[in-house]
């Protein structure tokens, strides 16, 4: 994907060559090295036992329950969560659950209406790569991951809420 930012050792970089590419359900998979396929397709391939040979990422829509991918998490290199609009906040919860409840360790990618001013929030919820909206400058968007980032509550990146650290003083 073009216009993608990734966290490398926790630091945000523009990824010069990102292999991942979103693939429609009717598109064949053989010519694509790193396809991101829909949850439905992933599930049917998995049931048929055809998944093992492929290095697929899976795309979850905002209505999909992260629990349903939990059994296959160990082998998934990438999960993409979709922001149909940047005002739709469901993917923040999905990301948080994938990381904290289901222990997902692979790449968690934000796709869709992904904009600079929300990137910091996404990182807090466990996203590790960001497919910035195509018409936006990725270099500008990168600024969204630098600068002040304190929050009070716990998050994926701050597993302890601030009050635990305050009272430890």
């Amino acid at each position: 994907m073009n216009n993608t930012i990734g966290l490398i050792n926790g630091v945000a970089h523009v990824l010069p060559e990102d292999p991942w590419c979103l693939v429609d359900d009717d598109q064949p998979l053989d010519s694509i090295s790193s396809p991101i396929i829909s949850f439905a397709r992933w599930q049917s391939l998995r049931e048929k036992g055809d998944l093992d040979q492929l290095s697929c990422g899976v795309l979850l829509g905002p209505d999909d329950d992260p629990e349903t991918v939990a059994p296959g998490l160990d082998t998934l290199p990438l999960i993409a969560l979709e922001f149909p609009s940047f005002r739709d906040g469901r993917a923040y919860t999905q990301a948080n659950l994938l990381r904290t409840r289901y222990g997902y360790k692979g790449d968690l990618r934000a796709t869709g209406d992904v904009l600079r001013d929300q990137l910091g929030l996404m990182r807090h919820c466990g996203f590790s790569s960001f497919a910035v909206r195509e018409d936006k400058s990725v270099l500008e968007a990168l600024k969204g991951l630098f600068g002040f980032d304190m929050i009070y509550a716990r998050s994926v990146t701050n597993p302890e809420p601030l009050f635990r650290r305050r009272s430890a003083k």
Binding site: E140, F148, L162, F163
Partner: protein, 560 residues
């Protein structure tokens, strides 16, 4: 009151810089209005009919004298010399230039204030009652938990793009003065048998076009679980709340759709996964925050002050004011004083000028401990006043037109700003408020009527909380003309109820007469000491309906 530490300071300062950058990017066109909209809303900036409006958070309605002076300065330097206090204990400035908002936020940040999350589809300002910490009927001071919730909800990354706005209120007194049952989450704090702090969690309240009182989903929740429980509620809401229709997106609709039991089960299921762990509150944290709300150094004084008694006997106007505008304090010899922002026709409800703010700040320092509260009813409160100082304070307040003895009476009108300012409003609520205050300006009559709340909303969004006014007035637009629908029997507090519509709507100029007729019915039916709302509950709305519309019909027939 709570003072910021280095973390709190760092957060609000960084937020100013962030929003300054966002405004600059909006002005340069780098950000589209669509992209900028939620950013500005989450910093309290609305676009109104004539200008931008800035809503400043006053967490749980508590201000220091210097904070109030800062608000006065903002009113003077950035607005037209006044501000408007809202039903959610915030203040709004109505005539703001977008370019100057970062400078205002800077002034606020320097005084430990902000406008974060006063709008937008996120957790809004946490509210409680104006007499927290001083009320004689208080069980536990709710402010420490309110502050803990404020911090937790501020920039909580998972919950900034909820399906819709989310309001939380907490109260802990015999009388609920924070309208907690009309909130998305209402928290009632009380003590268990062994003295432990417990919470009743109520979910799914809200006014707007579908007024619903919230329902209890959890009793006796130990306070340590406050944050995890609210987190579970918000997570369920964020996942399953409707996003296809803005009018069906509040949590109340989800609770109704699932049924309160099923909703509660869903929350419990989520909560079981997160309840024990690092997010559980600690006694250290509670103590740290509660320390900031320690009682001031009250003087040990007698409950009865001879000078005060003498002034009461000598000056009937003072005595009436004391009776109406002061409240019992937990310390002997002290009172809490309510400053009415509803002087009648001279100013809209909730509006306070910069000069008034400065005088109130000075008075809070001179006679109190430098603290001011904002009440849900849009009035101001000086929480700690010695009874012996009441007379001098009253005279000073009178000079500022802040001593109208009408607290809790008909003319203590709660009103939204309406179509004069708000671009959502379908009608102008302020002229109606004014006409009512003009018609019923006889204090003896008002006192005879007794406790009676009147709430006006300029549209179905119900910012004036008309559903829970004893008399509620709702502005509706019918083919470009303003009409006002009247409800009666609404109430806030422990016996909250939603008012019932009495019949067809009125034109603006007919409203005072309709109110007058409602009052006549009440006066002819009431039993000794019976409040308006109790009469409505006892006899139902039929006699009121008849009293209001019968003559109306007769008039139409006579003219036919």
């Amino acid at each position: 009151m709570y003072r910021y530490d280095e973390y709190d300071h760092a957060l609000v300062q960084a937020r100013v810089a962030q929003f300054r950058d966002q405004v600059a990017r909006r002005l340069s066109g780098e950000l589209s209005e669509e992209e900028f909209l939620p950013l500005r809303l989450q910093n309290g900036v609305y676009l109104q009919r004539h200008a931008y409006m800035l809503r400043v958070a006053i967490p749980y309605g508590t201000l220091s004298a210097n904070q109030l002076r800062a608000l006065a300065r903002i009113a003077e330097e950035f607005d037209r010399g006044y501000g408007h206090f809202t039903t959610r204990q915030n203040i709004q400035f109505n005539w703001i230039a977008l370019e100057r908002v970062p400078d205002i936020l800077q002034l606020l940040a320097d005084q430990e204030m902000h406008a974060i999350q006063t709008s937008g589809n996120c957790v809004r300002n946490i509210t409680t009652e104006a007499f927290a910490g001083v009320a004689s009927d208080e069980l536990i001071d709710p402010r420490p938990l309110a502050e803990i919730l404020r911090q937790w909800s501020t920039v909580n990354p998972e919950f900034l793009f909820l399906p819709r706005k989310f309001k939380i209120a907490i109260s802990s007194s015999e009388m609920d003065r924070a309208a907690i049952r009309a909130h998305d989450v209402g928290l009632y704090l009380y003590r268990g048998e062994n003295g432990e702090m417990l919470l009743r969690v109520m979910v799914g309240g809200g006014l707007g076009r579908t007024p619903i009182l919230n329902e209890t989903i959890r009793e006796a929740l130990p306070w340590q679980h406050l944050l995890t429980y609210v987190e579970a509620v918000l997570r369920v809401y964020n996942r399953y709340g409707r996003r296809d229709n803005k009018y069906k997106a509040r949590i109340k609709i989800l609770v109704k759709a699932l049924g309160v039991e099923a909703f509660a089960q869903e929350v419990e299921r989520e909560w079981e996964q997160i309840r024990d762990g690092v997010a559980e509150l600690t006694s250290e944290e509670y103590a740290r925050v509660a320390h900031e709300f320690q009682a001031p150094d009250y003087e040990r004084i007698d409950a009865i002050d001879p000078d005060f008694g003498a002034w009461l006997a000598r000056n009937p106007a003072f005595s009436v004011w004391v009776q109406n505008n002061t409240r019992a304090h937990k310390m002997p010899g002290y009172s809490s004083v309510i400053l009415s922002t509803k002087p009648g026709t001279s100013a809209p409800p909730g509006d306070v000028t910069a000069e008034q703010m400065r005088v109130v700040a000075d008075l809070a320092e001179k006679y109190g401990f430098g603290e001011i509260r904002v009440a849900h009813e849009q009035n101001l409160v000086l929480p700690d006043i010695r009874k012996r100082d009441l007379y001098a304070l009253w005279k000073a307040l009178r000079a500022q037109n802040l001593a109208t003895p009408n607290i809790g009476l008909l003319t203590d009108v709660i009103s939204c700003p309406g179509g004069d300012y708000c671009s959502l409003a379908s009608t102008r609520s302020l002229p109606v408020a004014k006409a009512i205050q003009q018609r019923f300006d006889n204090l003896d009559f008002l006192h005879d009527l007794g406790e009676l709340s009147l709430n006006i909303s300029g549209c179905v969004n119900a910012c004036g909380h008309h559903h829970i006014g004893n008399i509620g007035i709702l502005g509706v637009d019918k083919n470009g003309e303003e009409f006002f629908q009247i409800t009666i029997g609404g109430a806030q507090g422990k016996e909250s109820s939603i008012g019932k519509v009495i019949g067809p709507a009125f034109r603006a100029e007919e409203v005072p007469e309709a109110i007058d007729r409602l009052l006549s019915v009440y006066l002819s039916y009431r039993e000794v000491e019976e409040r308006f709302v109790d009469t409505v509950r006892r006899i139902g709305i039929a006699p009121f309906k008849e009293g209001v519309y019968q003559r109306e019909t007769a008039k139409v027939e006579a003219s036919a």
